[in-house]
Subunit: 385 residues, 2 copies
């Protein structure tokens, strides 16, 4: 472990500042409040951190009023944990209660409001039953719900120094874990054992969890980047790719590495070289004044020297933080202006050969001088195990 | 590892049968099809299994028509993996595409339909942007959407033999992992290190992942069951509880264990004994003819001998399978009839002492003879480490 002095949690000032920024933006666009119900948003404004979100049974709500602290409307099972947060107003019910899973508490809270924001745009989900949402709208006929996606995502995109420290910490753990891969990945080892060992190593290096690990290994390259592993042994001539999202104190890394097993084919070496240089161009371009589209363009131009198909991943990187993937997207459609302290992945990919593909990924923070690496830069040439 | 001969995936006949059962129910209630968009449901009908669901960026859709195979409407990045499924009709787009993330493909597909089911009831979420949902409804003004929650959850509640095998396999891995806890949990070890070692052990025992681990350790008992660990060392006189959801081939276990560190206080021993007996009563009552409410009642009666507050967890167990928690709920509100091959948790809990609580949990499958244990039964008395 590289950074043992880092502490968990945030001082209350962090949550005060986040809430104040939200309230300033709310005032600009005329919102009386914002109703939030998704894990990352609840955690962002309250510090409430639990794996219990994996159970879909119970909805959780936080309301950001025009002024003052956020208000929690949550199942009783979460009261004890939420009481350790900076919030004062915590309203609970004995969930699950299919007839009234927080709806009457929400109705009471929102009855006096006129215009309330909810997140209903790109990359959002309604983390409550649609039927309950319809009942809430019916119970509040005079209330106008407006989309607050851009407002909330805009706040979350730009990280505080404390957030960057946490992401840098888990990126360092990820880099150390990748550095150990040659110790347990070699010809003859089943791919699912490689995955298992990778996760065990990440935990040993200090990750709280290793929720995300995808990858592949096959002759000369791989055809798909989201699969679980099978039991096929690594074979001389394979290209192995592992892409991981590890987590520490709620914050993620998200990057990948490629290796050749025994021998690197020329086509794979060439693809690797193009992607390494595309990533490098992205790192250099990751400075205020440029946009996500600019990052997409500089990487795309280099990728196009080998593959001008546009690929099937739809973007060449994204935001990173409380979520494995968050806004913005490095894509032609995303003209988000880069600003200092955005934490981003650069994730160029290309197709080559007979249906093969390759992906590179690094994690950076935007600075005036371009991207500062949070992950340890991948080797210049495709490493051979 | 106890059961190494078990194989991953399902024969196509399993998906054919699941789809046929859905289509029979759809005909009964007059649905032309069901539109699904959540991980467990997509996996249930297609076998599509990927951790990529952790990225909230892209929506995924599967449509169950009145007859014939399901139809996938998914991001291009998933095409290669979905092509390995039993589906023939896979429609893709280059996601993310904020202006049209599958909406025009869905509109084309649903234009000829009259009444389509979606899941909008208890324990469901809308895993697509609410704004896109509103656009889809606006594009299909003649289409009636009906709630299909009960239909889909009803199918998923009753497991096939192949599903039960997978759950039994991961329960065995969980039991072996819990059996190792005394090797690494003892006075002086920080709680977060116990969590880390538990996860590493679960992977070593054969789990694909250890996504869910919550617990606590404090003097005489614990006050909360959903928290992440802190760095406080285990201390003589603590009660340690670990509650885990491990996963193998997409299926979960979900059970917990309690230990006393060094010495067991009388109050903790008494709470443990009551919960052990409550669980036993639940196991015996888990037979066809009884309801979830009956399970709740038999456990509640024993719990009430020590604590008649009703607790704050809201239920005393739930369904288990592709999700860590799924329908039904052992609660007064749930009159679901138990049938053979339902896989359930029994999870009695109680409050005692000064704000302390205790939870027990076992995993069972419903048989004519009562619950058959999938987890290795907890010790009769609170074990002391």
């Amino acid at each position: 472990m590289t950074l043992t002095s880092i502490s968990r949690g945030f001082p209350e000032a962090e949550f005060v500042a986040r809430t104040a920024r939200a309230q300033t933006s709310m005032a600009h666009v005329g919102l009386d409040g914002i109703l939030l119900m998704t894990e990352a948003e609840v955690q962002y404004f309250t510090g409430f951190q639990t794996l219990f979100w994996q159970s879909p049974t119970r909805p959780w709500f936080v309301y950001i009023p025009a002024s003052g602290k956020p208000i929690a409307i949550i199942p009783e099972i979460g009261a004890s944990l939420m009481q350790r947060s900076w919030l004062d107003d915590i309203r609970t019910w004995a969930a699950p209660a299919p007839d009234d899973d927080g709806i009457s508490l929400l109705t009471d809270l929102l009855l006096s409001q006129s215009v309330v924001g909810v997140m209903k745009g790109h990359e959002t989900q309604l983390r409550m039953p649609l039927g309950d949402w319809e009942r809430l709208m019916a119970a509040l006929p005079a209330l106008e719900f407006k989309d607050a996606t851009g407002l909330v995502q805009g706040l979350r995109m730009v990280k505080s120094e404390a957030e960057i420290e946490k992401i840098e910490h888990i990126c360092a753990i990820g880099s150390e874990t990748f550095a150990q891969v040659p110790q347990f990945a070699r010809a003859g080892v089943p791919l699912d054992d490689v995955f298992r060992e990778f996760r065990r190593e990440a935990l040993a290096q200090g990750a709280d969890g290793a929720p995300y690990l995808v990858g592949a290994s096959s002759q000369g390259g791989y055809a798909d980047v989201i699969s679980p592993p099978d039991t096929t042994p690594l074979t001389h001539g394979d290209v192995l790719m592992l892409d991981t999202g590890l987590v520490w104190d709620g914050y993620h890394c998200d990057f990948d590495r490629n290796w050749a097993i025994g021998k690197a084919h020329d086509a794979a070496k060439q693809a690797y070289d193009v992607l390494w240089r595309a990533t490098q161009a992205g790192i250099e371009a990751a400075r205020p004044g440029n946009t996500c589209r600019d990052l997409f363009d500089v990487m795309s131009r280099i990728i196009a020297t080998l593959d001008d198909s546009g690929g099937d991943i739809g973007r060449l990187g994204h935001g990173l933080g409380l979520q494995l993937t968050e806004q913005p997207s490095h894509a032609a459609f995303d003209t988000t202006q880069l600003t200092e302290n955005m934490v981003l992945t650069l994730e160029p990919s290309l197709s080559y050969g007979d249906g093969l593909m390759m992906v590179h990924e690094e994690n950076i923070v935007v600075t005036q001088q371009g991207g500062r690496l949070l992950s340890t830069r991948a080797a210049v040439e495709l490493p051979v195990i």
